[in-house]
Assembly symmetry: C2
Homo-oligomer: 244 residues x 2
């Protein structure tokens, strides 16, 4: 499995993913799930993937191939020249559908799961920040003020904290902490999610990735956060009134 | 779905279950998942069930039928005269296997899921408190000091808090709060788990259910706990140091 979380705030986008991929418990590898592109002062796009790795790698490779082709043929539409982030999400969905169709028959015969999801986040000049969740079938939904975050992969362990603290006006720094706390809860409870982590921030109207950080297993800041949260949670729990 | 949690402490057993059953999102009903029996000063046994309702009801009905039969034929082995809690878990497993076999062919033809799990908790005179998790296949595992709690059904949302606060020497009152907080997180994040709740406590060596309580949706104590936890969690989060 995997765990990726994307939060859309008035102040910008907070994106966090793990790097664990497994085919069974005895076959664990490390693959980044976060892929980012920038056109300085014009757009920043980040994709995060979960599900069947052969499918999601196929999607990313095809999207990058188009970017290479556009260097030769400027007519070629890519996620870096599409006229809106909505169109970027559509292109990710279309690419997903192509890859799925190519492999469906063979994978069905093997009984393999071809489930895959992609989070599409970014902003282009003249547009607002957008966040989409693209499904295996290529269809997609967008985050709104009512639902300002999306999670893919092992989403359940880390959902309660996000449900409680995230609103569209949460400051970026707080949302970054919330994403890390949500990831920390997931890491503690589920072996199929693992360090290192990839964190990216796209501040509203910056039109670039304002922060990009790989959090390694021995990252002192993440360790301090994890310890502080553990202590805070324990003391919050022990201070609960004896109601029952 | 469903959510049931059972915690085995030095001080006794804490058991909590919801009452929601659904066949699709548009077919929601209320069924107690907690079933209890007592032989005063000799034993207390509580079963909690998750999964296919026709299977779990089948298991409970057969176990009760044997108890009725034993009133006529004292040779008949039941969960109330079995010579150990281990044997009780075995009987639940055997009954599970019988019910599964009876319905497997028909259910397979319908593509229905016959997945079902049962938590078996209790104590008999001369024995210690025991907690078992019985799987669909009738096999089972026992809680130990390393893993002092079991969850069945929608277990992921409510696992992080238990992972952090439960150890075998946690007092009963604290474990009761932890079970309620774990349930509260699950209720907030997942529609397939719903009030009212059933709570039972079996204190070590009491050989009876020392507390049994149905927590209705308007239960003032549960509301206060839920609010207190929400506030404590939010303030714990907002007091985190700005590490990143």
């Amino acid at each position: 499995m995997t765990y990726c979380v994307a939060i859309k705030l008035d102040a910008g986008l907070v994106l966090l993913s793990d790097t664990r991929t497994n085919a069974g418990l005895d076959n664990i590898s490390r693959y980044g799930k976060m892929h980012s592109w920038e056109v300085p002062d014009e757009r920043a796009v980040v994709l995060m993937t979960a599900g069947n790795l052969s499918i999601t790698q196929g999607v990313i490779t095809r999207l990058e191939k188009r970017i290479e082709m556009a260097a030769i043929d400027p007519e070629c539409e890519t996620i870096l020249n599409a006229d809106s982030l909505f169109r970027v999400a559509q292109m990710v969905g279309e690419t997903m559908r192509d890859v799925q169709e190519r492999h469906r028959e063979g994978m069905e015969a093997q009984g393999a799961s071809f489930d895959a999801t992609v989070l599409v986040a970014g902003q282009r000049k003249g547009g607002s920040t957008r966040l989409f969740l693209v499904y295996s079938a290529g269809n997609f939904i967008e985050a709104t003020r009512d639902t300002p975050f999306f999670q893919i992969g092992e989403h359940k362990y880390g959902k309660p904290i996000l449900d409680r603290v995230i609103t569209p006006d949460t400051p970026l720094e707080k949302a970054k902490l919330a994403a890390c706390v949500s990831m920390d809860s997931t890491l503690r409870s589920n072996l199929s999610v693992g360090m290192p982590l990839d964190l990216a921030i796209i501040e509203t109207d910056a039109l670039k990735i304002t922060e990009r950080r790989r959090i390694e297993p021995d990252d002192k800041d993440f360790e301090r956060l994890s310890d502080a949260w553990s202590k805070a949670l324990n003391s919050a729990f022990h201070d609960l009134p004896h109601i029952f």
